[in-house]
Amino acid sequence: MASQIISLSSIATPNNGVDLDEIMQQKAEHQGCGTSGGSGKASCGTGAGQGDLAPEIWEKVKNHPCYSEEAHHHYARMHVAVAPACNIQCNYCNRKYDCANESRPGVVSEKLTPEQAAKKVLAVASTIPQMTVLGVAGPGDPLANPEKTFKTFELISKTAPDIKLCLSTNGLALPDHVDTIAGFNVDHVTITINMVDADVGAQIYPWIYYKNKRYKGREAAQILTDRQMQGLEMLTERGILCKVNSVMIPGINDHHLVEVNRAVKSRGAFLHNIMPLISAPEHGTVFGLNGQRGPTAQELKSLQDSCEGEMNMMRHCRQCRADAVGLLGEDRSAEFTTEAVMAMDVEYDLESRKAYQSLVEQERQATADAKRAELETLAGEQSDVKILIAVATKGSGRVNEHFGHATEFQIYEASASGAKFVGHRRVDLYCQGGYGEEEALESTVIRAINDCTAVFVAKIGGCPKASLEAAGIDAVDRYAFEYIEQSVIAYYRDYLDNIRSGAIVHGQRGDAEIRQGAYVAA
């Protein structure tokens, strides 16, 4: 409990007049209505395997990297940027900004026609057989461009019927299109819901365009929240799985998101994804320019933990671009420019895709089996020690990336109940050759994983290893190419043994930084 109190106080920003006791009370009540911590549901996405999900729901999410944390290690998605228009303005978005070297929502390099998008999907699906999901996520709002979005779905459902269709909307136009969405067998819809209180909303949305009129301030936010709740209810009634994305904006909606979580849970949302605000002056957004900060890693995790109850929390979101391609932790969009795609001679081979995916399923089963076997060694363990471990991985659920090549680290929490994915940290490529490597290491990687006790890598050089050790982070390469979760549990078991033998002293780690700047591709 002590650590929760500390992290809650760090959520509260100074001078905003918020009573911490009140939040603690709110949080306690909220958690009380869910299941207690440590249950199978208290995990990211669907956790490891089917868990306690109903078979029909498992069938829908098992190959969807955004709806299942476990699937995201194995399956890829792509977004096609066919929807440039938007019907609302958000203070964290600037539509004029467009850069190929940056990965965040609302950014694309080129927009596509539905016909170009359909060709691109076939090209990507043939090159990346584990690509199972096609999403329309902007760069504007898919439902502010209904003809383009639905034409894209129509074309793809004909040519690549095995690919799941998905869309992500702000919800303003959602109630008008729910039946069309259901008609295309779209069974995953994401709504971005940042508030259920118009006073909070007025600080996030300067205006909306609704029924041929621009609404501002509180009135705009009230219409938006009413439409979002209505749309969510309509989706739930039709059995469409709904994920809710919320942007955590410290001082504006950070406490309020607990209430949002309760509101969307009661309306049947399947998964809640609380994301950190991305805000930098060079993005040219209102929040970027007025100095609004994003949350720290500890603040984000604390809020996610406090919302964890009967509802699954997503922690593996990479806040990707509206034209992202590949596994969530990678971006291969640069390989599939319109020019490149149009020149490709694509033959869509459903059978070879199926064959490849059955291999992926075997690997996935082996990962789950290894984790289960290792977990049995912790049976009866009562320790309340919890540690975070950063992992360098290229996917497939293995420790298989060189420290210096990692563009992100996946973060696992190890405790007596096992290994749990709790997030990821993006880092600049520190291994860029030439000069300044050590400074880059100090300034980016260590700050990004400063809350971790250890970092697992496939390989690491002597210098970075020494720098990490100086910062109190154990650099571990003995699990190279092993399964991540099995390795995390094994490390944790050794860690407890070392505490008991007096070889090490367990101490609290500090906070860590969530990257804000533009991502520069290698």
Partner: protein
Amino acid sequence: MAFKIVSSQCTSCSACEPECPNMAISEKNGTFVIDPAKCTECINYFDEPQCVAVCPVDDTCIIDNNYPRYVA
């Protein structure tokens, strides 16, 4: 009698095109343009010019002073 789109500001998001009641907006050389012969400033259609209301960039759809104001 017309609005115009400042092309250096236009993000080419296309939001305005379907909202125009006069079909006066089209894409040209990567950004959108308003045909002044067709624009009625939305008078008799809506309370406010639709291109202005939906455009994500302030001061991008503006009155074109080369033309007299539209009179219904």
